[in-house]
Amino acid sequence: MTHRTQLQSLFIAAAAIAILAGCASTPLDENKAPVAEKSAPPPAPTPPPAPDTRAVQRVDTAPTQIDPLTDPNGTLAKRSVFFDFDRFDVKAEFQPLVEAHGRYLSSMKQRRVVIEGNADERGSREYNLALGQKRADAVKSRLTLLGATDSQIETISYGEERPRATGHDESSWAQNRRADIVYK
């Protein structure tokens, strides 16, 4: 039994070495013999140890650029501007948010955003689509005032078609009267 197991192990090891030795499949033995002869006395060149299949090699990516956009606590983490019913003027409380994005886009000319305008469910879907477009355009014009360029900003509207809140009350409607700044 033991003998047999040893033989088996040997065979498996040999097979493993053969596999690990690489790609060549034919002249390996012929070449190997003379090399082995030359360096006979020192310990025979042991085959490379079978790699540890559980090893984990850490890789570090290049150091990340500090991008204020990714700071979850920064002003730029806020990307929604909310509006009153049938209104598209950016309210004072959202000016700092819009200004922060405007300055950021102005300093990062390679960044692109899509501003998605939305409306609550009341009234006409088509009028709400146009209203969402006006809300998106209102945010865009603020951003361009602060140095963002026209080519950085696309505005689209979903009207009332993609509500964030699906209730049928003022708290849901307030959440849906919104323009979102979406970085691409």
């Binding site: 049938d86 009234g123 088509e126 009028y127 146009a130 477009q133 509207s157 078609e161 049928h168």
Partner: protein, 430 residues
């Protein structure tokens, strides 16, 4: 005398192709009549005699439901005994039971599997037959031919063309990422899906041919206007410019479309040929101009604009000239639709925080609220101008409703699932 009108047979053949080429019925809408009209004609519609095997549709039930939904008829109980079309009808007896009109009929299954549907309409007051017809009908055509019989009865007794054999289009949202454009009979039955998408669909608009629809689809992550041929499934993006493309409306001759585009700044109205050529901007107010709607004579376009502050209805020439404001009551009036005779404008108006369909007599300036719901959208006239279809919300779910234009009769069409919206009533099929 009995007469078999050959023209109808041609239509039946066409209808057969349409129906058999499409998917089986799904998500049928249920009709509930929630109001009562005045001056209703009492009519007795007896059970039709069924011979030669069961019929897949209950013809007299469909006729009764159609006429009830119109609001102008009151059904007289006819019991459970079928009266065949060939029977001698005792009109004096029916008159004494309160009926002004009597309908009897038969549905006979033929050896080739088709059905011979016959009916006779009697005037119980004048004691005479006023209509009688036979339809050779495949099983698939039975429902359509039932609607056609209801149309004939309606027209004979009211003098107005019936709309029961017309179709409606609407959008159903089944889940957050499942939207369907469906086409059904005017009663909401026989629903078929024309378009299925993961993104919203809105503003379907029938071409005058009743075979093509224009609509807005967000399938490319922005609103784009398509023209879709229902019989073939062929689709073409007709307005796909920078910004929003929306609110398609056909000119009455089907050669032109008006659309709302934001490609040049604020949403404005443009016209184009129905092949997409000849784009022309016709409003330039700097404010929102949207929801164009052609008058039936093609001489005016009604539209929504917030150029005066809030959204109101305006009218202009199709070239964009001669703009006049039309609505003055309330600070939010949207979605204008003009009646086929051009006399009545309906729209959604916000009053005391309720969004309701209002009807404005253009000659007198008289305005009437047509609904008692609070979140109405998308009113649409039946092609005979007697009924209005609109979307509203009941228990947080979108449903379709219809109202008679005198506001007396209200009907609700409720489906088993999904949010139903954006209804639009199709034209008469010639």
């Amino acid at each position: 005398m009995f007469r078999t009108d050959l023209r109808w047979w041609g239509f039946c053949a066409l209808a057969l192709c349409l129906i058999t080429a499409s998917a089986p019925t799904r998500a049928q809408l249920r009709v509930e009549v929630t109001g009562v009209g005045s001056n209703q004609t009492p009519i007795a519609i007896a059970q039709f005699q069924v011979d030669g095997g069961p019929a897949p549709q209950d013809v007299d039930d469909i006729i009764r439901a159609d006429l009830t939904r119109s609001g102008v008829f009151r059904m007289i109980d006819t019991g459970n005994t079928p009266i065949p079309e060939s029977a001698r009808v005792d009109l004096g007896d029916w008159k004494s039971k309160g009926a002004d009109a009597v309908v009897v009929g038969s549905v006979a299954k033929l050896a080739d599997g088709r059905f011979d549907v016959r009916f006779r309409l009697y005037d119980a007051v004048k004691q005479q037959q006023i209509d009688g017809l036979s339809y050779l009908s495949s099983a698939a055509e039975l429902r359509l031919n039932s609607h056609r019989i209801a149309d004939r009865i309606y027209e004979k007794l009211t003098g107005v063309r019936g709309v029961f054999a017309t179709r409606i289009a609407y959008v159903v949202q089944l889940s957050k990422t499942s939207f369907e454009l469906q086409i059904s009979d005017a009663d909401g039955a026989n629903a078929q899906t024309a378009l299925r998408s993961r993104e919203p669909i809105m503003s379907p608009s029938w071409a005058p041919d009743g075979i093509r629809l224009a609509y807005v689809s967000f399938e490319t992550a922005k609103p784009v206007v398509y023209i879709h041929t229902l019989t073939t499934g062929e689709r073409k993006a007709i307005a796909n410019f920078r910004g929003s493309n929306s609110a398609p409306a056909w000119s009455p001759d089907g050669k032109m479309l008006a659309v709302a585009l934001s490609r040049d700044g604020p949403t404005s109205i443009y016209t184009m040929n129905s092949d997409g050529s000849g784009l022309k901007r016709i409003t330039n107010s700097g404010a929102i101009d949207t929801e164009p709607f052609f008058s039936a004579d093609g001489k005016s376009i009604y539209f929504t604009s917030d150029r005066g502050g809030g959204p109101q209805i305006y009218r202009m020439d199709p070239s964009g000239g001669n703009v006049q404001r039309v609505t003055f009551n309330g600070d939010y009036n949207v979605s204008p639709r003009l009646s086929p005779d051009g006399h009545t404008l309906v729209y959604v108006s916000r009053r005391n925080n309720k969004f309701q369909v209002q009807s404005l007599d253009l000659a007198s300036g008289q305005e009437v609220g047509l609904t008692d719901t609070v979140l109405d959208e998308s009113p649409s006239f039946a092609p005979n101008g007697r009924l209005l279809l609109y979307a509203t919300e009941v228990n947080g779910r979108g449903v379709l409703a219809s109202a008679s234009t005198d506001a007396r009769v209200h009907t609700r069409l409720t489906g088993p699932n999904g949010d139903v919206r954006e209804p639009t009533w199709g034209p008469f099929i010639k």
